[in-house]
Amino acid sequence: MAWAILIAAVLVTVFPFYWMLRTALTPSADLFSDAGSLWPRHPTLINFERVLGMTSPEEARAAGGSGAQINFLWYTLNSVIYSGVIAIVQTFFCAMAGYAFARLRFPGRDLIFGVLVAALMVPPIFTLLPNFALVKNLGLMNTFAGLVAPSVLMTPFAVFFLRQFFLSIPKEVEEAAVLDGVNRWGAFWRIIVPMSRGPLITIGLTTTVWAWKDFLWPLLVGRAEDTRVLTVALGVFLQQSPNTQPDWTGLMAGSTLSVLPVLILLIFLGKRLVQSLNFTGIK
């Protein structure tokens, strides 16, 4: 019974992905004539070729797509920079903040932490406009600095998550280290961080995935060619002119390819992540 539920849940989760892949492999011409079939009748890689820029606009149109062109690898690189910087820098700073809240005593600590947790309640859409105005006034439009500005230093969730984890690490481990003559920084950097590899990777991964699929902010701030990320770039396959259909097959091929890097990351790190979350400190 449990297995049945699990399998059903997996199917529900995976089916949209499958459908995306199936649409990507379908020639444009067949898209609506056999919309119900589970497998494309004439599977083709033409849509992927179009996305990767291996066809001319004329060939793309002949394949039933839009003549829109997309410099896929360039935008992928932008996405890697965007999510990479956010994930690494944010995880680092949030770990320090989380450690401070968990272990250090300073006046107003709990108040500050309360404010921080309260910030979790603010919907991101609220801060969108002020952030936009700020980035514009700082002259950071269409730069990576402006792109990563709102989230590169910390997010309340990551600080909260890591603090909870550090709290669960026994104090004795650190006390032993202090007796051995290690200072605060050393205790954090050489004891806590290695012990918390699991949660740190978890936060890093979720942040990466979140930044990778982020759309609205990059659309507002990073539309220029040299800072455009993949999610924004895929917009070229949308409706080209009034009363025409979007280039579904191109869009799905592009989306499939854009999911791959994150998927690979998860496949490689997912296992370690589960294992390391089980281990906490004293054996």
Binding site: G67, V85, K136, P246
Partner: protein
């Protein structure tokens, strides 16, 4: 192992931060010290990019100091992107403009008044399709030069109609009225086929299992109904506005409009057109391509997708039907607008003037994609279409017919009006309220905006 991982991570951060700093210099319009200028130009239609790139190349040859950089942005995102870029001060120098959207930009002082330039360079405004140039004038200020025009027509699947024994020659003389739908409704009924092969005129017709719909309506059609209800209502004697452009009183409460919407509702009830919720997400061209629709209304900008060598069905065009007040089609034209805040006003104007001249419009005509605004170029475009074996004369005939065209309404508050009226029409189609009262309510809302 762990140590090297840390080094790698630190290096990555450093590299990334350096990359961040290094890319801080991506600014839009840039003028080098040697007087060379890049003008950024935006358009949305991927079918037209090639034509305008040819214009840009020709322009650059004539003006070696000005390079035009074209950015194509899909229609679905075009206006969002433009307004965002305007807000962030990174707008393109010149962009393709649309009558429904430009009043808003004018009231925000974002478009340059080119009247002084037009007078200085003596641009001949009489060369354009009549009325097009005036669409972009407000209070004596001019906000663009016409680049092209489009009219509406019926597009039909030739095989499906001949299979049902419809005489396609007679399609050029169809009539329409909101009471019984005229001969148009007869053809629609005949073209509708259920899964047993009975057509819509057959008493055995099963309206719950339709295989081919005779007619596909467009419901996401704003406040103008350019792709259907607007053209029909006007051919019944409806007028949108007290005066166009820049009127301030709409007539959406006119019973003639409600009659038109009710006629659509009974088409759905008879099973000749898909239910609103069954059709709303797919483009009509997709349904036509799948062979599940026989007739729809389309604009001349879609000619190449319907008549291309790779089209999935055989299509042909027929003029819109003649209503009680005659045959009426919406005619609309695009223009090119200059950003009021551009650093290169003179260069941008040179480019816009070039776009509005026969030098560019003849190039566009030769590619047979859209009909250019200059009359001679339109004729050349028609010839280019004929040379490709595409019969598209219905669009130019309609444009040339005396009193056969009407301009889409141009007023302030376009966005809000579009939303209010589209919602009213959709609620009527869904049967949530009757057309007359929904439209009356929307009309009150709309006219209150001008108080």
């Amino acid at each position: 192992m762990r140590h090297s991982a840390q080094v790698a991570a630190a290096t990555l951060v450093a590299v990334a931060l350096v990359g961040t700093m290094a890319s801080c210099s991506g600014k839009n319009s840039d003028s080098a010290s040697d007087g060379k200028v890049t003008v950024n130009y935006w358009l949305w239609d991927d079918n037209q990019t090639a034509s305008y790139q040819e214009c840009a190349d020709a322009f650059h040859t004539a003006n070696p100091n000005i390079t035009v950089k074209i950015t194509q942005t899909a229609w679905a995102q075009y206006w969002q992107n433009l307004t965002t870029q305007l807000a962030s001060g990174d707008a393109p120098d010149v962009w393709t403009d649309h009558v429904s959207y430009y009043p808003q930009l004018v009231s925000n002082n974002q478009i340059l008044d080119i009247q002084p330039y037009v007078e200085r360079d003596k641009v001949d405004l009489a060369q354009y399709q009549s009325g097009l140039a005036d669409l972009f004038v407000k209070d004596g200020k001019r906000y663009g030069l016409p680049k092209d025009w489009d009219t509406m027509a019926l597009v039909y699947n030739t095989d499906l109609l001949s299979k049902q024994g419809v005489d396609t020659a007679a399609l050029s003389d169809l009539t329409w009225n909101p009471k019984d739908g005229g001969t148009l409704e007869q053809v629609i009924a005949k073209a509708t086929v259920d899964k047993n092969g009975h057509n819509g005129l057959d008493p055995a017709f099963d309206k719950n299992n339709v295989k081919v719909f005779g007619f596909l309506p467009e419901w996401a059609d704003g406040s103008q109904g350019q792709n259907g209800w607007g053209d029909f209502a006007v051919s019944d004697g409806f007028t949108f506005l007290d005066k166009n452009p820049w009127g301030s009183h709409y007539n959406y409460d006119d019973p003639k409009l409600a009659d038109t919407i009710d006629w659509y509702k009974q088409l759905i009830a008879k099973g000749y057109t898909p239910k609103f919720d069954k059709q709303s997400t797919l483009g009509r061209d997709a349904v036509m391509d799948a062979g599940q629709g026989a007739i729809t209304i389309t604009g001349s900008w879609t000619i190449n997708s319907y008549l291309s060598a790779t089209a999935k069905q055989k299509y042909a065009f027929a003029p819109l039907p003649t209503g009680p007040a005659g045959r009426k089609t919406a005619i609309n034209g695009l223009s090119d607008a200059i950003f009021a805040g551009t650093k290169h006003k003179e260069q941008a104007w040179q480019w816009v003037k070039f776009l509005g001249s026969s030098a560019c419009q003849d190039l566009v005509a030769k590619n047979a994609v859209v009909f250019p605004a200059i009359k001679e170029a339109s004729a050349k475009s028609l010839a280019a279409h004929q040379a490709k074996g595409q019969d598209v004369h219905v669009f130019t005939d309609e444009a040339a017919a005396p009193d056969g065209t009407f301009f889409l309404p141009v007023t302030d508050h376009g966005n809000e009006i579009s939303q209010a009226v589209q919602d009213a029409v959709q609620s009527a189609i869904l049967g949530q309220s009757d057309a007359a009262s929904a439209l009356k309510k929307a009309n009150d809302t709309v006219n209150a905006m001008f108080k």
